[in-house]
C-alpha cells in the first residue's frame, strides 16, 4: 500500500495564499466587494464539494487546496474577460452565478460570509477527525 500524504488545513489553505494578488487587482479597480463576493462563492462551492466527498467516503488529499482557488478564478472569469473588453452578459451566470450575485451583492456577502465560516469549520472538523482516525 502506497503511503499518501493526507490533506490538512495547511495544504487546503496554502494555494489560496495567491488570492491577495486578485485582491490587489480588484482594489485597483475600486471593486473590493466584488472580489470577496466571487472569492467566497468559489470557496463555498469547493467546501460543498469537499463535504459531499466526505459523505461518500473520499479521503482528503494534499492537492485539495487547488480546488477552492480554481473555483475562485472560475467565478471571477467575467471580470477577467472584462479587463480585455467584453462587458458582462446574462449568460455569464454559468461562472458560478457571477451576474445574478452581482445584482444582490449586499445580500450575497451577508449570506456567503457566515456560510463560509460554517462550511469551513465543519470541514476542518472532518479533517481533524480524519487525522485522529489515522493515528
Amino acid at each position: 500500500v502506497k503511503y499518501r500524504e493526507p490533506g490538512t488545513l495547511l495544504t487546503l489553505l496554502a494555494p489560496s495564499a495567491l488570492l491577495p494578488l486578485g485582491f490587489l487587482a480588484y482594489s485597483h479597480g475600486g471593486s473590493v466587494p466584488h472580489f470577496f463576493l466571487h472569492a467566497l462563492m468559489g470557496w463555498n462551492a469547493a467546501l460543498i464539494v469537499f463535504l459531499l466527498s466526505t459523505l461518500i467516503g473520499r479521503r482528503p488529499m494534499r492537492w485539495d487546496g487547488l480546488l477552492p482557488i480554481a473555483l475562485v478564478v472560475y467565478a471571477q472569469v467575467p471580470d477577467i474577460i472584462y479587463v480585455f473588453g467584453p462587458y458582462h452578459r446574462d449568460w455569464m451566470d454559468v461562472f458560478l452565478f457571477h451576474i445574478s450575485l452581482d445584482e444582490v451583492l449586499p445580500l450575497a456577502l451577508a449570506v456567503l460570509t457566515p456560510l463560509w465560516l460554517v462550511l469551513f469549520a465543519t470541514y476542518a472538523a472532518t479533517l481533524r477527525s480524519e487525522r485522529h482516525m489515522r493515528r
Binding site: 446574462d90 452565478f97 445580500l107
Partner: protein
C-alpha cells in the same frame, strides 16, 4: 469509525445549509436580474432626477443643471471597443454641443476609479458619472429605462442611449441603440431639439 459517524449529521446539516443558501441566493439574483426592467423614458415627460459621483470631482445632479439643456449619454462599460467608440463619438460632438450651451453627462455602471482611468486614457473633456456598485442601485439608468435593456444577448449594464433634456428638465429626444454606437452627428441632432 464511531467518531466519523458521530460527525456525519453535522456534515449533512452543513451541506444542506450550504446547498440551500447558494441555490436561494442564486435564484434571488436571477429573478431580480431578469425582472427588474423599467420602461424607457418618454419624450415630453419630466426627466428623472439623479445625483451621481463624477470624474470631474464630487457629485453631479440633474437638478443642478436646471436652466441649461443637458445631453445624457448611457454607455454599457468603459473597456469594450464599441463603448470606447461611443465615448469618442461624444467627445467629437463636444465642441458643437458646448457652443450651443449643452451640458454633457455620460453614465455607466463602472466604478468611479475605473471611469477616472478612462477619462485620462481617452482624454475625455466631459464628466463620466458612476452608478457602481451595481447591486440594485442604478438610479439613473433604471429611471430612464435603459438598464438591462431587453435584447437577445441582454447585459446587466446600461444599453447605448442618448437622452436630450431641455432647460426646463423635460425629455426632448431619446435614442437607444443596443447594438452599438450612436454617431457624433446623431448626437448633435438629438441635442438640437433640447
Amino acid at each position: 469509525v464511531r467518531r466519523t459517524r458521530r460527525g456525519l449529521p453535522w456534515v449533512c446539516l452543513a451541506l444542506c445549509l450550504g446547498v440551500f443558501a447558494l441555490a436561494g441566493l442564486a435564484a434571488t439574483g436571477l429573478v431580480i436580474e431578469r425582472t427588474a426592467r423599467t420602461p424607457l423614458v418618454r419624450v415630453g415627460q419630466q426627466a428623472p432626477g439623479f445625483t451621481l459621483p463624477s470624474t470631474g470631482g464630487g457629485e453631479r445632479s440633474l437638478a443642478a443643471e436646471r436652466g441649461r439643456p443637458v445631453l445624457l449619454v448611457f454607455v454599457p462599460a468603459m473597456r469594450c471597443a464599441t463603448c470606447i467608440a461611443q465615448l469618442r463619438a461624444v467627445q467629437e460632438s463636444l465642441p458643437t454641443l458646448r457652443r450651443r450651451g449643452v451640458v454633457v453627462l455620460a453614465v455607466s455602471v463602472d466604478t468611479d476609479a475605473f471611469q477616472r482611468d478612462t477619462v485620462t486614457t481617452l482624454r475625455l473633456d466631459y464628466p463620466l458619472l458612476s452608478e457602481a456598485p451595481t447591486y440594485g442601485q442604478h438610479p439613473a439608468s433604471s429611471a430612464y429605462g435603459v438598464y438591462h435593456f431587453d435584447t437577445p444577448n441582454a447585459a446587466p449594464v446600461s444599453t447605448y442611449a442618448v437622452v436630450a433634456i431641455d432647460a426646463a428638465g423635460i425629455v426632448r429626444a431619446v435614442t437607444v441603440r443596443p447594438e452599438g454606437v450612436i454617431s457624433s452627428d446623431e448626437i448633435v441632432v438629438a441635442a438640437s431639439v433640447a
